[in-house]
Symmetry: C2
Subunit: 574 residues, 2 copies
């Protein structure tokens, strides 16, 4: 067998730029300090050699799952989409504020595509005419664009990012749902190979359309979503679509608090009235509530025009009142059922008795007011406050819920005919010559986000710590001062001789940079190679190397002849 | 050895869309008809599965050349660049008309990068401070953008395209020129592995800057450049920078012709005076000249403000005259040396005697006029007419020149300090603590163009015809009606068992689509697989297959046991 060429770190560009670690450094700062990437503009990043290697491995892993387990065909669509197509689908105005838009030299309007339903549906509509050509599964891995209001956390919320998007086309709902289930199973397999404890949560379809969707969430304190899951049953949902928790009770004299929001047109104030505390039925514990506990999704269900991104609603509204731009309805009172009975007392109060009420505008009762109560399908009162860990599961009778902040890494949508109908993607069925719109699905995985989220999930004080599947190298060999380059090459070839299922992704490198052993060891910890092999003191005397694995707490002296077997074993564990 | 999974064409999306071939179909139309790609907007394309496979193979081949032969590190820069950076380099106004520009929600101005000198120089300037970190070679393969005035010929001139761009950083000119030579050698190796007869022609550096550059040209009738090469010596140049050919002679009574251009500000008319014919010195042959023979690069050297894209200069100028917007100098006469002596006669003529002269504006001598003659460094007269095939080589004494239309597939530039100086990329040298600007180079290969140009170069009446290195599959197995799927799998595994140097790129597929044998054979010809293996009539009776290779004119009956050896041999030939 020919020896493979030795991968040498001296040949790779590792810009450190002498960046010092801060005490509270997050994973994104570690990615910068270790030389994986640099920010070029707000929410935009240049991937450097290490970062490119990781991203490329994520892409290949995802592509393998699409090819081998879903039989999908890979395409690569233009990043530029004509606005006219988005007008046709009726989605342009919904998402306009998040689009990068421009015109060409002939004044044709384009946008940088954040997703490709319009383009791929049009493409398929022109070629596929018969049910015999379905099911069809097409995916791509390309850069996507979204002009985020507030880009943050590095790769976790960027304005330019790499995404895998899979589009599925079926003849009828039944086969489309079967496709949906298959995609769900492959997503579970994918995240498991990344060693990420991802939760598949039922989710809202938002501006995408359709009525069945799941988000794939990694629990993390940086997450911007909350996922609710039951310890006992398989109930797992995004808080936005959670069934309301059963109500507790509050004493009649419980003080109320007000959370204030405003509508998107800045003319209507929204007061959400909620109890300051509640005594829990079973534990007897007193739970205090703050504005953080308001379930905005539930409020939005009552006031769809609510702008959830505004923090000083009252000042906007005072301005509207002062300038006389307010409409007939200027105040909406949204009431949590627990304070329904105590509310009238407040509503009849003078302005001066209300917490934080601007006296200049008179008391609430002098204004045009709407009163809203949240109710379930059967008229039962629904809570406007968030579910807490420990609350009862609405699905099973016995379970308790867990609430976690989480980061969305993927999404699956069953779209039905949301795009195929307006864009004319239809096939003739055997039962009828009349073309019938295809049943579509779209299924994303945020490649850039997976890189950022994986970095964060495994990072510790010493540095990053990649799972084997996407590490920039699986294993780095570091020769100490008593070891020659030939010695290091011998170890390299010994490890590389390992073969067997899964071993084709084993990727060994030799750290031959002109630096000291301690510097290299600490750099290897920062970069986060899963395995480190050191040719240390015992190399010359006993032909033994030191095998290190920070994640599993391994640091042991190993005979060279035992090394390949151990690496193979650990490779499948990490 | 484990059997590899059988690649089946039935699992790939091949949209044919029932497009009929036209009699004069070009390679781009064949790429569409065979299902490689579709145009989405003018000059923008969606790559379909076959096209994505080819493009991906070109990318991997180019990456391998950068990694293995140049030791370059791969990065992946944002496609979006801030305009402010392009103002800093001073290039924004030069290239503005070809940029897609936009602003974000905070009114920051961005552009879709056509190339990345500004970004990468800034990135490197922030990390690299010492000569010890040089030489540095960084490359990427990403989408680039250029709002072409007239996109055409499919992938050959698009507005969105994939490019490999390599940037090199050296401490001094000497090492930068050594780097330049290395890149040139690797480019020769790359194009040779694509089986493309690419010419490395000395070229103009244009808006890129620097003073040494080469273009890598594939001769083709669709080419927009002309490359001049000598049959005897290694003189190879883009016509734009060709040394002027030695002058022939014209009889004193030879009639003159005028080619008319106008300056970019549309106020100054440019008349180029040239002879209607010339008697060639050595052959005695009479050569006629038309406006097609004007060497616009030579004219532009005299009148840098000339707009070469205008065809009706006279009407623009008449409008300028009529509206009184002309400046003091309104007419430039540029004179080919061959007609210098005959010109005064014309210039003193009345307007009515001049060919196509608008009588309304009076005779040329009544206008403010500049007279230009083209001269070499030593004052010798230089031709304004193009070099023709058969002209003498200006380098060697004996050679004859060949003029070919050609398509640029790559470019190398030695940039010197054009970007490192304004963007502050400098290193401390051992000789002086004062930072010295890095010596840079930039080196592109048009990935999309290579796909389009390779398609065109090898296509014939029957279809496309890919070189082995980038074919969507190296070899397709087509079972006839007497062969089972198991038979086809047997042949698949027999071929796949081939190993040896270079064989890792062997990529075999089985055409198991539900179509007839003749349909599959003609589709395989259209798609252009280098090798076709048919399980035909002799399969059942004698265990023989038919091996076809259109490029080499092979169609022969082969024993299954001989097949792997033959495939291996042909793989290295194609």
């Amino acid at each position: 067998m020919a020896l493979s060429a030795v991968a040498r770190l001296s040949r790779l560009w590792f810009p450190s730029g002498g960046i010092a670690a801060s005490a509270t450094e997050d994973a994104h700062s570690k990615l910068i300090r270790a030389g994986f990437l640099r920010q070029s503009n707000s929410g935009m990043f240049h991937m450097l050699p290490l970062g490119h290697r990781v991203q490329d491995k994520v892409e290949r892993l995802v592509a393998k799952h699409m090819d081998d387990y879903l039989g999908a065909s890979r395409v690569s669509l233009s990043s530029i989409s004509a606005e006219s197509l988005w007008e046709k689908s009726g989605r342009l105005s919904d998402v306009a504020s998040e689009l990068f838009r421009f015109t060409d030299r002939r004044d044709v309007s384009y946008l940088l595509a954040p997703t490709h339903e319009e383009e791929i549906t049009t493409l398929v509509s022109r070629s596929v005419k018969s049910y015999k050509e379905l099911p069809l599964r097409l995916y791509q891995i390309t850069r996507k664009y979204r002009d985020e209001f507030r880009p943050r956390h590095g790769l976790l919320r960027g304005r330019e990012f790499v995404m895998k998007d899979l589009y599925t086309f079926d003849t009828d709902v039944e086969s489309a749902l079967k496709t949906y289930d298959e995609v769900q199973a492959v997503y579970a397999r994918l995240f498991s190979s990344l060693r990420l404890p991802v939760l598949a949560a039922k989710a809202s379809s938002g501006s995408m359309g359709g009525n069945l969707s799941h988000e794939y969430h990694l629990p993390t304190p940086h997450g911007e979503d909350r996922v609710i899951s039951c310890y006992s049953c398989d109930y797992t949902v995004n808080e936005e679509v959670a069934d309301a928790s059963p109500l507790g009770e509050v004493a009649p004299d419980t003080p109320v608090e007000i959370w204030r929001g405003i509508t998107k047109d800045r003319t209507t104030l929204v007061n959400v009235w909620y109890p300051k505390w509640e005594r829990l039925r079973d534990s007897g514990e007193l739970r205090e509530y703050t504005s953080e506990d308001i379930n905005l999704a539930a409020v939005k269900a009552l006031v769809p025009d609510l702008d959830t991104g505004v923090s000083d609603a009252l000042s906007f509204w005072s301005t509207a009142i002062a300038s006389g731009t307010q409409t007939a309805t200027v105040l909406i009172n949204v009431v949590d059922p627990r304070v329904k009975s105590t509310l009238p007392r407040y509503l009849n109060s003078a302005a001066s008795e209300l917490p934080g009420w601007p006296s200049a505008i008179g008391s609430p009762k002098t204004l045009a007011t709407t009163l809203c109560h949240s109710e379930g399908r059967d008229g039962e009162p629904l809570s406007l406050l968030r579910i807490h860990t420990g609350d009862k599961c609405p699905r099973c009778s016995s379970g308790r819920l867990k609430v976690e902040k989480a980061m969305e890494l993927g999404h699956t949508f069953f779209l039905g005919t949301r795009y195929s109908a307006p864009l004319g993607a239809a096939v003739a069925l055997p039962s009828s010559p009349q073309p019938s719109p295809m049943q579509m699905g779209c299924h994303g995985v945020g490649i850039s986000r997976v890189v950022g989220a994986t970095a964060e999930h495994f990072a510790d004080q010493k540095g990053l710590n990649w799972p084997m599947a996407i590490a920039p190298y699986s294993c780095v060999i570091i020769p100490g001062k008593d070891a020659t380059d030939n010695d290091a090459q011998e170890v390299f070839h010994a490890i590389n001789a390992v073969s067997g299922p899964g071993m084709e992704t084993l990727d060994v490198a030799l750290d031959d940079r002109e630096k000291s052993l301690p510097w290299k060891l600490s750099d290897a910890d920062l970069i986060g190679f899963p395995l480190i092999v050191v040719l240390g003191r015992e190399w010359r005397s006993a032909g033994r190397v030191e095998l290190q694995c920070r994640r599993l707490g391994i640091k042991q002296s190993v005979e060279l002849s035992d090394l390949p077997g151990m690496v193979q074993h650990l490779h499948s564990e990490l």
